[in-house]
């Protein structure tokens, strides 16, 4: 384990918050893309 000293909480918090934000953004991006692809496919198959 890496030694983080007295600032362990700070560092983990920084990485944690960044990870949450990034994962949220990536999840939103991928989910929206999948939804758009699905809906477009449905529309194109219909007409």
């Amino acid at each position: 384990m890496i030694e983080l000293g007295k600032y362990a909480v700070t560092v983990w918090m920084a990485y944690g918050v960044s990870a949450i934000l990034l994962v949220g953004l990536i999840w939103h991006t991928v989910a929206a893309n999948a939804r758009a692809r699905r809906e477009l496919k449905k529309q194109e198959d219909h007409g």
């Binding site: 600032y7 918050v17 960044s18």
Partner: protein, 241 residues
Amino acid sequence: MSIWEYANPVKFMRVSGAMLPWTVAAAVLCCVAGVVWGFLTPLDYKQGATVKILFLHVPAAMMAINIWVMMLVASLIWLIRRHHVSALAAKAAAPVGAVMTLIALATGAIWGQPMWGSWWEWDPRLTSFLILFLFYVGYIALWSAVEDPDSAADLTGVLCLVGSVFALLSRYAVLFWNQGLHQGASLSVAPGERMSAIYRYPLYLSMLGFFLLFLALLLIRTRTEIRKRRLAALIAREMRT
């Protein structure tokens, strides 16, 4: 074939579809490698373990600014050459930029807690990032408020133009207002004040990683926007007949 050809939605979908897997792979690789390498760097004699935040904080901060510049360029291309994909790319980039700004703000705030003794100080650097965030929010809000896509693209383009000037102006105003505590730029070209190489190389790598991550997200989000637009367009055409 000129670069403008990529502005055609069909061409863009084809080219971006081919690029996407490579971009995603490179982004994941560089991000993970840069951040892990950064995490393994030794402690700073003054700041202790908190230097490890640098490898998130600085790349995010740089991307936050650069994404706005990219949006400005894309908006100009739309306003002058009327390439529809360009407008959608600007739209797609904005949320990524906003999140990058948030990461820079959040990591900075967390870093400030032990260093300056408070979560938030009205330091010029931090303040101008807050202002940048406000510009991102306004830009995104305007895109979502205007229903007609052509008007929305035009209006947000004009806003981006005016906003850029005022973001810059605010930066100088804020400097006039408060002197601040934040670090200067130590990646500058002037020798002597450079940070040591143990921190510099992993920093470069994670900066590259963040850039590639942005590129990958931008491609995916632009493709999403194109699909959404195409869906809306097909429905609109169906209505009309």
